[in-house]
């Protein structure tokens, strides 16, 4: 960790200076990138460190967002309650999903997480009287935590603080004995069982922690766009965050954050040119799988070690 300290300090300095360097449009794009970086890192804890590939991660992201949106718009509830409530309910949903999905492994796990997440989407889509259905809920005003976060600059700093703290927490988790146990489980469940670890409890905990951070990211996302619609829960979201993780590099935490930045910037760029973003995204999936299966971080490492050998 000490080795990276200068890099971390420089990175923090750059992030702090961004509002002074970027025009408003790109600043709000940066906010979006930070939010999705957190979302992707939360999924990486599950895929990269625990070996459980969830295809329904948008459920926690979306629920975190919907709870905030519903409480603020429909309930006129204070942000001091709405914001934590979003995270807590997303965490609770994570616990429920974990209990069901951890009965199964492999492909069944993929299908169950995807199917359960679609149920949540179905509720948000179908329960028009509460959620506004397809039209969504507009008018989610940005919170005031001691200071108003309505303008882009202060909201950016708020997101930076939240994502920074979460990233620090996630790095601490994967470096802790608990994190090492997760990696052991990823490599061999049976061996960890034989060593006396409660494998189920570890996986359950990883799932719940992961959904909590996803919920936080979702809440931030809805505050950022001031709007929530079933889109945040859709399987396309789950798929998008999955490709961020893989494209960046599974099991590196930093990689998925970079993957998030690449995908968001690409989406922004492509969308300004053509309507065919989904097609391009699909091609990104295929190309990544064929040519960069270990992600950008993996490519970098391969290149780096090859150069060193010469």
């Amino acid at each position: 960790m000490r080795r990276y300290l200068p890099i971390i300090i420089v990175a923090i300095a750059i992030f702090l200076a961004l509002p002074y360097l970027l025009p408003t449009y790109y600043l709000s794009l940066s906010t979006k990138i930070l939010i999705f970086a957190l979302f992707a890192m939360s999924l990486d804890l599950l895929i990269g460190y625990t070996g459980l590939a969830s295809l329904g991660h948008a459920a926690f992201f979306g629920l975190g967002g919907y709870v905030v949106g519903l409480l603020v718009v429909r309930g006129q509830v204070s942000e001091w309650i709405a914001f934590p409530a979003g995270i807590i309910l997303a965490t609770a949903l994570g616990a429920l999903f974990a209990v069901l999905a951890l009965r199964a492994r492999g492909s069944y796990f993929l299908m169950i997480t995807l199917a359960l997440a679609q149920v949540v989407w179905g509720i948000a889509f179908g329960w028009r009287t509460l959620t506004g259905g397809d039209d969504g809920l507009p008018g989610v005003k940005r919170p005031t935590f001691f200071v108003s976060l309505a303008d882009e600059n202060s909201f950016y700093y708020f997101v930076l603080l939240m994502v920074g703290l979460s990233a620090w927490a996630l790095f601490a988790i994967v470096r802790s004995p608990f994190g090492h146990a997760l990696r052991g489980i990823r490599e061999s469940e049976t061996r960890m069982l034989a060593l006396g670890y409660n494998v189920w409890l570890h996986q359950f905990a990883a799932f719940v922690i992961s959904s909590a951070f996803a919920g936080l990211a979702g809440a931030l996302f809805v505050y950022n766009t001031r709007f929530v619609s079933p889109d945040v829960l859709h399987v396309v979201r789950s798929a998008e965050v999955l490709i961020m993780v893989i494209l960046g590099g599974v099991g590196t935490l930093l990689g998925p954050a970079i993957g998030a930045a690449v995908i968001i910037l690409l989406e922004d760029f492509i969308s300004s040119l053509t309507q065919r973003w989904l097609l391009i995204l699909g091609i990104v999936y295929v190309v990544t799988t064929l040519f960069a299966p270990r992600g950008l971080v993996g490519l970098y490492k391969e290149h780096f070690s090859r150069n060193r050998k010469r």
């Binding site: 199964a104 069944y108 798929a239 599974v250 097609l279 091609i283 999936y285």
Partner: protein
């Protein structure tokens, strides 16, 4: 008598789900690939079917051409892409997701964003009388065709040489290969057949549930529930699971219209708690 009608509706929808789930299940059974593109085969099948009907006016022709085209798409996906990642779950998931998006966007590009309904074939556009109520003969045709397909698949699997190879491959692909069975060809064949069945479902289901953007996700989800309940890798599971989900969905929509999805998912969760690999699955 209304209950007979509701039951028939549920059964015909269940048969449609069987067509989808059978391919999904066979592909998984042999190759352990969870094919997320399976709903797209349905969608593309329905769209191609609509184009064939619009140009030739023949439902039968649509029923032949659309599944064959989609079968080729499936075979290409297996042969040139999925094959490289045999038994590697994450890349397979990504690839099939990628193709899902590609097919979805290309379909949107070619056929536009408005949902379509396929016209029923003229011979089966009428209704017959069931206890004083009219019932569309098309749904009865659907049930008949579905059961026929189930029978053919069963015969193929249990009574033919290729079927025996297939069963050997499902049990142990490695040993099957060592015994001189061309497992590689079998993989492509099964993928093509799976895609063909899904596209057949698309054409047959076109006059009932139609097709449009998002249908691919919807039917994929239902097919997943079918195989989660019935068990992956088992044709019997696909048929029983399909009928169970078809009936649950139909009666769910009658009794709890706002929360119809729950009537499918609560039983799924219950079955999952007792049999994590489904009713007929083998883990």
């Amino acid at each position: 008598m209304i209950w007979v009608i509701h039951t028939l509706n549920g059964v015909s929808f269940g048969i449609l789900l069987f067509l989808l789930a059978a391919g999904l299940s066979l592909i998984y059974g042999l190759m352990k690939i969870l094919n997320l593109t399976h709903g797209s085969y349905y969608l593309v099948g329905a769209y191609i079917g609509s184009t064939v009907i619009a140009t030739t006016g023949s439902f039968i022709l649509a029923l032949i051409i659309a599944p064959l085209v989609v079968a080729v798409l499936g075979a290409v996906m297996e042969r040139f892409f999925l094959r490289r990642f045999h038994l590697d779950e994450l890349p397979q998931t990504l690839l099939t997701f990628g193709f899902l998006f590609i097919f979805a966007d290309l379909s949107l590009w070619i056929w536009g964003g408005d949902p379509i309904m396929l016209p029923k074939p003229a011979m089966f556009s009428r209704s017959i009388d069931i206890g004083g109520l009219g019932y569309p003969t098309y749904r009865l045709l659907l049930i008949g065709v579905g059961l026929l397909v189930a029978l053919i698949l069963w015969w193929f699997q249990e009574r033919t040489r290729v079927g025996a190879m297939l069963r050997a491959g499902v049990d142990d692909a490695e040993i099957a290969r060592a015994m001189g069975i061309d497992v590689s060809l079998l993989f492509t064949l099964v993928f093509a057949v799976g895609a063909l069945l899904a596209a057949l479902g698309g054409v047959l289901g076109g006059p009932i549930i139609g097709a449009g953007p998002g249908t691919d996700f919807d039917v994929m989800l239902l097919a997943f529930v079918v195989v989660i309940i019935g068990g992956l890798g088992s044709l019997r599971g696909a048929l029983v699971g399909g009928l169970v989900v078809g009936l649950l969905d139909n009666f769910g929509k009658i009794f709890f219209p706002e929360f119809a999805l729950f009537t499918i998912f609560v039983p799924m969760a219950v079955i999952l708690s007792f049999r994590p690999t489904g009713l007929f699955g083998r883990g």
